[in-house]
Symmetry: C2
Subunit: 141 residues, 2 copies
């Protein structure tokens, strides 16, 4: 609408959105694995699959992608663990998730919706935006 952005700008944004999507899944897995390790002491493919609502085969396949990406380690029949890099990512993701949920709640979104939407939103929140969220929460709540 009368905006007519220089075509390169929009293209760049879309590219970024696309690549964000490819890492989103890995972030979710890493976050969940960290959670399972912390709460249950182990992260088994079946647990992961159940929590994510996918088949165990899908979970196994994705875990092998995590390994390829250097985020996790796993030995057959012995559960999944995070590498340092994976753990660091999990920490970052958890912090970001909290902030997004808190922000939505602060804006009046009911807890349940906030949790659900945050799951999708969080992967697209840049550092800059995250800082703005955190700042808003600090001064405004």
């Amino acid at each position: 609408m009368a905006k007519l952005p220089a075509e390169g700008t929009q293209a760049r944004r879309f590219g970024k959105t696309r690549s964000a999507q490819s890492t989103a899944l890995l972030e979710d897995y890493v976050e969940l694995i960290a959670d399972l390790l912390a709460s249950a002491g182990e992260a088994r493919p079946t647990d992961i699959a159940r929590r994510l609502g996918v088949s165990h085969a899908t979970a196994v396949k994705t875990v092998s992608r995590l390994k390829r990406a250097g985020l996790a380690t796993a030995r057959p029949y012995r559960g999944v663990f995070l590498t340092e890099k994976g753990q660091a990512l999990a920490d970052r993701v958890r912090v970001r998730h909290r902030i997004v949920v808190d922000l939505l709640c602060a804006l009046g979104v009911p807890r349940e919706s906030a949790e659900a939407d945050a799951e999708g939103i969080e992967h697209h929140v840049s550092e800059t935006t995250l800082k703005a969220f955190a700042h808003f929460l600090k001064v405004r709540v």
Copy 2:
């Protein structure tokens, strides 16, 4: 942490996020096509491709998915148009996009980042959350 959600809840959220991703692209296309039709009078596959930063072949393929989904019509070498359904979707998407961008700006996110992040975020904002955003913008700005 220590949350241990009933496993079904989280699974449902992830499922929703996944399906949101599959419609996200179609929403982007529809929005862009509406934009091109409004500003240039026509939407050609090559323009779409350029704006989205993909090859024209990809654009053509996706347009055919839009057709299958009943959102667009296109005749060979004659450009792309939206069906009523597609136009309605475009309108909804545009409104949502505006609200998300405005909200981010209201929270102190610089315009440039707001536009970029909104591109990814908007597809995951539920009706409920969108209403909360709109309400916040009304009372608070």
